[in-house]
Symmetry: C2
Subunit: 231 residues, 2 copies
DNA sequence: ATTACTAAGTTACGAGTAA
DNA sequence: TTTACTCGTAACTTAGTAA
């Protein structure tokens, strides 16, 4: 999305258009953006067309509400600024143990993955993955993890089949060390997959439906202290 | 500043140009911004001209560092997103008690202020202000307070002299309720002024040089829960 | 009051290219 | 390789208005 449209969207959000339908005129917005009424009007048309806002035209002014898509755009911007200024070194999830479709065993057995795991993680993972279901609302944390530095496992081809790249992070599940494995491509899933040197279900004494606390550790990155309000 | 320049500045910050001089070519940046090498080069020239970055040209690539001015631009953007998504309901300061220039007694005695204080705060302040010196690095918190909703005291004219508007916030100093009074116009000062119904120096048993903990409470605003990583 | 169209003016973009 | 200039064209802006 074009930077000037993001700016307009941000301005609408500051006026409360995420939570409420706000009543605002193109003239008022033009003053905030230091541009003309016509340009503000055109921006609103563009945002409407690309689905980031919904409008109801009044006889005076208009009612504007930011859509889910619009919210995503803004959250992504926010995420980038958080990366610049206040990178959290740890990300927490709470999840529920679920059964995989035995795909984990298949993938962890592939030579192309195994050799990279051994080289980059320092161990051969126990066959299979531990699957933990998280809240779909946690998508932003996953988006964040995709952006920050992790242990990259390269994509490769084996027997004409292409295996996608994944990114690994050191993580703790209920205080036991594991590796979180995230696919680099494709849609965000609400299932997190973990690998370990040992059979995690045993070492953690877990069965389906158990709640677990997950702590993902992020590699050192730039971070500038700023506005460190407590609580 | 133009939105596309802010975008470029953000990209440079993400590459680490706040902390370090980063080595980057206009071609690499053009790929990140999905634009041409020429445009990226022009953006860099513009950022250099307006003083938000400093450059050293290498024979290959260039060394780029974001200046104080550039950092201010980015911090301001960040502040706006924080306002949108994760407004802190409280802001903390640590400060040192200092003596004012007796101006506080003068201002609190002006009828135009007194009547508004009585009406909007519900009490007549004790003459004078308690002055607390804070770190100049806390400027961002003040900038933030200027933006959010507070108790507005209108500017007025009295005897041909114009008295500027101020904004009040409920605050606690060492757990005693007070009111923080911030001028709406003018430069940011590193002295915070507090008023109260009683003589604060007595009720707090304070003298110059004492360190105090200040907690400023912000009125309810929109806030969307997102990425609430703990710690 | 509004929104938003048209048309003309202005700015920005990027291919080509020099240094 | 780089950076960044020229210049034709594409995109954006806004005055003037209609609805």
């Amino acid at each position: 999305m074009k930077p000037y449209l993001i700016q307009m969207l941000k301005e609408l959000a500051l006026l409360g258009a995420i939570k409420n339908r706000i009543e605002v005129s193109s003239m008022e917005l033009s003053e905030k953006l230091l541009t003309s009424q016509q340009t503000a009007s055109r921006y609103l048309l563009e945002l409407d067309t690309n689905g980031t806002i919904e409008r109801e035209m009044g006889i005076k002014k208009q009612l504007i509400h930011i859509t889910k898509d619009g919210l995503d755009v803004l959250q992504n911007e926010f995420l980038e600024y958080k990366q610049i200024f206040a990178l959290p070194q740890r990300i927490y999830f709470i999840g529920t143990i679920v059964s995989g479709k035995k795909e984990g065993s298949y993938y962890t057995a592939i030579e192309g993955y195994q050799s990279q795991f051994k080289k980059k993680l320092g161990f051969n993972p126990y066959p299979g993955t531990l699957n933990v279901q998280i809240d779909t609302m946690e998508k932003n944390k996953l988006r964040f993890l995709r952006k920050v530095e992790g242990i990259e496992i390269e994509p490769f081809e084996d027997n004409k089949k292409i295996f996608g790249g994944v990114k690994c992070f050191h993580a703790c599940i209920n205080a036991i060390n594991t590796i979180l494995v995230l696919p680099l491509r494709g849609h965000y899933s609400n299932i997190l997959e973990f690998i370990s040197e040992s059979y995690l279900r045993d070492s953690l004494r877990l069965e389906d439906g158990n709640k677990v606390h997950i702590l993902v550790t992020i590699e050192d990155q730039l971070s500038c202290e700023v506005n460190n309000e407590k609580q």
